[in-house]
């Protein structure tokens, strides 16, 4: 049957893509950095002797040293510990918000692309609306409505990211819909559900994979930005954006604080970006260069 053939072809395509990805040094570096970040976030409590919120006002603004590799902040908290724990916040927000928006966006995108008609019209106009104002402003307004907490950060970022996923999957669905194998499946009486899940969705996956890494990177930045603006994670929970915000206030006393917390954001986003680039190259058959 077509679907068996397809899934076989699919599997080999996946293998091909993975092997291409593995040959891409930069992308590989991205995967390794990301792995390290996940490892340090999970095992943060075992990697440092300090607590992320433990204060010692006798140790305020200590410069980096052997005892405190990244120095201490205004309350004498160890910054390395806070950076390691901060990874938990960024990665959790990234995974959950992107997961939510990818699922929602894909459902909306695939159905609107597949069915077309009034539903597509509504979805397209709604996306136009959401795209026409600055993403960060939308996230800020949503946070103002919901209130400051990490759950709400995920919701806000999830909402803002959804239309991008919808747009990407809708485009794939539109182009797949007119392909011969879909028409064949329709002709032999396959249900809408069956066609969408077995034929349309698999063809949306490559651009989806790329979009996930891009959206993940944006989510990490957006969480940091919201916390930076004092609308995101609640203090004293260590979030890189929050630490950067605190650090910016005390730059004269502790220039290392904004440097390290920003560096953590940059490395994470960098690894996601190169991974995204690698995926795009690996999944795009025309990218021969």
């Amino acid at each position: 049957m077509t679907s068996d053939l397809l899934s076989q072809k699919e599997r080999s395509l996946t293998r091909l893509a993975l092997s291409r990805l593995a040959r891409n040094n930069l992308a590989l570096a991205g995967v390794i950095i990301l792995g390290l970040l996940i490892f340090s976030a999970i095992f943060a409590p075992y990697l440092t002797p300090y607590g992320p919120t433990t204060m010692d006002t006798s140790l305020r603004f200590q410069p980096p040293s052997w005892r405190h590799w990244m120095g201490t902040d205004q309350f004498g908290r160890d910054l390395l510990t806070r950076v390691l724990f901060g990874g938990r916040v960024s990665l959790t927000v990234g995974i959950i918000s992107v997961g939510v928006s990818a699922i929602l966006g894909t459902i909306v995108g695939v159905t609107s692309g597949y069915f077309g008609g009034w539903w597509d019209l509504v979805v397209s106009r709604a996306m136009d609306v959401l795209f026409a104002f600055p993403a960060i402003l939308l996230a800020i307004a949503i946070m103002a409505v919901l209130g400051q907490s990490i759950t709400n950060v995920m919701i806000a970022i999830g909402i803002v990211n959804t239309p991008i996923f919808a747009r990407v999957t809708r485009a794939s669905a539109l182009s797949t819909r007119v392909q011969l194998f879909v028409q064949a499946a329709e002709a032999i009486g396959g249900s809408h559900w069956h066609i969408m899940v077995r034929h349309i969705l698999p063809n949306c996956l490559p651009p989806l994979a790329v979009q996930i890494s891009v959206a993940f990177a944006w989510a990490v930045i957006a969480e940091a930005a919201l916390s930076f603006l004092g609308l995101g994670t609640r203090p004293p929970t260590p979030s890189w954006g929050l630490m950067l915000n605190e650090g910016r206030n005390v730059m004269e006393y502790a220039p290392w604080q904004p440097v390290f917390s920003g560096l953590a954001i940059m490395i994470t986003v960098f690894s996601l970006n190169v991974l995204g680039d690698g995926l795009r190259d690996a999944l795009d058959p025309t990218a021969g260069r």
């Binding site: 919120t53 204060m55 205004q74 004092g230 609308l231 609640r234 203090p235 004293p236 206030n249 004269e252």
Partner: protein, 539 residues
């Protein structure tokens, strides 16, 4: 009892320029001068010698003072404005019947003298020849109109409560105003000295939009307000205090970033930087081109509990939390040491009503634990601690409170709340368990205490109620002298500290930084900037 108040401080202020001292020495303030004679000379401003002396340090005329302020100037309706940044501008354009000296004594302004024949009657003699910026002379009718407008509930002035006691206003002639009170209200004089309880021309609100057209009697006239960019006032050449102001104008520049104000005063882009952040005080003190003016202010941060619900309806829980706080460490970490730890009440040490019961000098975790156990919370509990998101000090203090009570088993979630939402939570929905706010105090102890702790108090957000405190507060309002009032206020402060509806953290030191050539300016502990009228530029 006949009270006059003095006269031209002008000549003295010229002197004061020479004597200008760095800080404002806390002095015993006497809101109501005991005795004095009415001076007729006071009526004639022309009699004042405005430094014709060729003394080298004499004030120079001219120049525009560039003032970096912390918040954007928004809302310039004198009747409804309440933000600090709006007040800075309004104080230059409008004037009140009375005013404060930098020593926080009350002196005449638009009223050149006053009498209080009995506790329910205040007679004010207006200064003659005072002109509004539209050229009209100020008379008793304007005073009546202004005060009645403040009281009018349809206007929605937050200062309506200041004039609530005034029942009728009588104007026997153009220069006399008699206020008849419905109940004795000793803080009235200090309210009449509030620059935001200003006198405007009769009927003005019906003619113009008060948010954009400002017509007062002040030393400066309003020119323009470009939000987020600048607000400009220019010299009023017809100012009643002849010879003043010295400046051609003032330009207020909002620089909300702390760093920006500090940097702009260091580079000399501005002549005056308001509200120097605590962390920059030590850095700026070492700069030879800059002078810091200021000292202990009236601003303080504190923790409050919602007494409506458990566990905070239990006094012992509140006491335990208050006992766990190390106020000295908090002052050190949050205010970089530039503050005064409040170990009892909220009245600053420079006030005559200051009282230290010493209940919370040092943290006492053992006693706190014991109190919690007695209250039935031996294992602690968890609660939400809200604070204002725009205020870094509140968030910092919140984090320290969280750490401080953790050993008691109390798990706090510090939630910085976006400002508008927070106000809604506090005022309208009472949706909070614990909260932190900053408060700008005033001058009279009644202002510090009545509305916070009287069961009918307007700012009693925490729903504190103690009949004895109510009684003392009400009684203190009817007494006139400090000596009579002090014992009552001491008892109130002690009771409140014991029952702990709130836990005070610290009082801020507030400094403004001025370039050395800015002369004549004096810091006001209540953070008003009315001394700009005496300020001149020596360059």
């Amino acid at each position: 009892m006949r009270i006059r108040s003095m006269n031209q401080t002008v000549a003295f202020l010229v002197l004061a320029v020479l004597l200008l001292s760095a800080g404002c020495a806390p002095q015993q303030a006497t809101p109501i001068p005991a005795t004095a004679e009415p001076t007729t000379a006071a009526a004639a401003p022309t009699a004042v010698p405005v430094s014709p002396t060729p003394a080298p340090a004499g004030p120079k005329y001219g120049g525009v003072l560039k003032v970096a302020i912390q918040a954007d100037v928004a809302g310039l309706d004198i009747f409804t404005a309440s933000s600090y940044s709006s007040a800075l501008v309004l104080e230059q354009v409008y004037e009140s019947l009375l005013r404060f000296t930098p020593e926080m004594k009350i002196e005449p302004c638009l009223a050149e003298s006053y009498e209080i024949p009995d506790a329910l009657t205040y007679i004010l003699h207006l200064r003659k020849g005072v002109k509004f910026h539209n050229g009209r002379e100020m008379t008793a009718a304007d005073v009546k109109y202004s005060l009645e407008r403040y009281k009018n509930p349809d206007v929605g002035s937050p200062r309506a409560v200041y004039v609530d006691a005034i029942e009728t206003i009588e104007t026997p002639d153009d220069y006399t105003v008699i206020l008849h009170l419905s109940y004795p209200f000793s803080p009235l004089l200090s309210y009449l000295a509030n620059p935001l309880l200003a006198i405007v021309p009769e009927g003005i609100a019906e003619e113009v939009d008060l948010r954009t057209t400002l017509i007062g009697t002040g030393p400066f006239k309003f020119v323009e307000n470009i939000p987020n960019t600048r607000t400009v006032v220019e010299k009023n050449p017809d100012y009643w205090d002849t010879g003043k102001p010295y400046l051609d104008g003032i330009e207020f520049i909002p620089l909300p970033e702390d760093r920006s104000r500090t940097d702009n005063i260091v580079t000399g882009n501005v002549d005056y930087a308001d509200q120097i952040p605590q962390k920059d005080i030590d850095i700026l003190k070492q700069n030879p081109d800059i002078r810091l003016e200021g000292g202990l202010a009236t601003l303080y941060d504190f923790l409050f509990f919602n007494l409506r619900n458990p566990p905070f309806n239990n006094m012992k829980v509140r006491q335990a939390i208050s006992l766990a706080l190390d106020r000295k460490a908090m002052t050190e970490a949050v205010l970089y040491g530039h503050g005064y730890p409040l170990t009892c009440g909220n009245i600053p040490p420079w006030s005559w009503a200051f009282y230290d019961c010493g209940l919370y000098d040092k943290p006492d975790l053992e006693k706190a634990k014991q109190l919690l156990t007695e209250a039935g919370y031996a294992d602690g509990f968890s609660a939400v601690l809200k604070c204002g998101a725009p205020y870094k000090a509140q968030i910092d203090a919140g984090q320290m409170v969280k750490e401080a009570v953790a050993p008691l088993g109390i798990q706090l979630e510090v939630v910085p709340v976006e400002w508008g939402t927070y106000i809604d939570d506090l005022l309208n929905t009472h949706n909070f368990e614990m909260g932190i706010v900053g408060w700008m105090g005033a001058t009279d102890p009644d202002e510090w205490l009545y509305n916070h702790y009287h069961s009918k108090g307007q700012y009693n957000l925490w729903a504190y109620s103690n009949p004895r405190v109510d009684e003392l507060l009400d009684k203190a309002r009817t007494l006139v002298t400090e000596a009579e009032r002090k014992p009552l206020y001491d008892e109130i402060q002690k009771t409140v500290a014991e029952e702990a509806p709130v836990a005070y953290f610290f009082l801020y030191e507030q400094y403004e930084a001025v370039r050395n050539y800015v002369k004549g300016y004096r810091h006001m502990p209540n953070q008003t900037k009315i001394t700009f009228v005496d300020t001149w530029l020596d360059k």
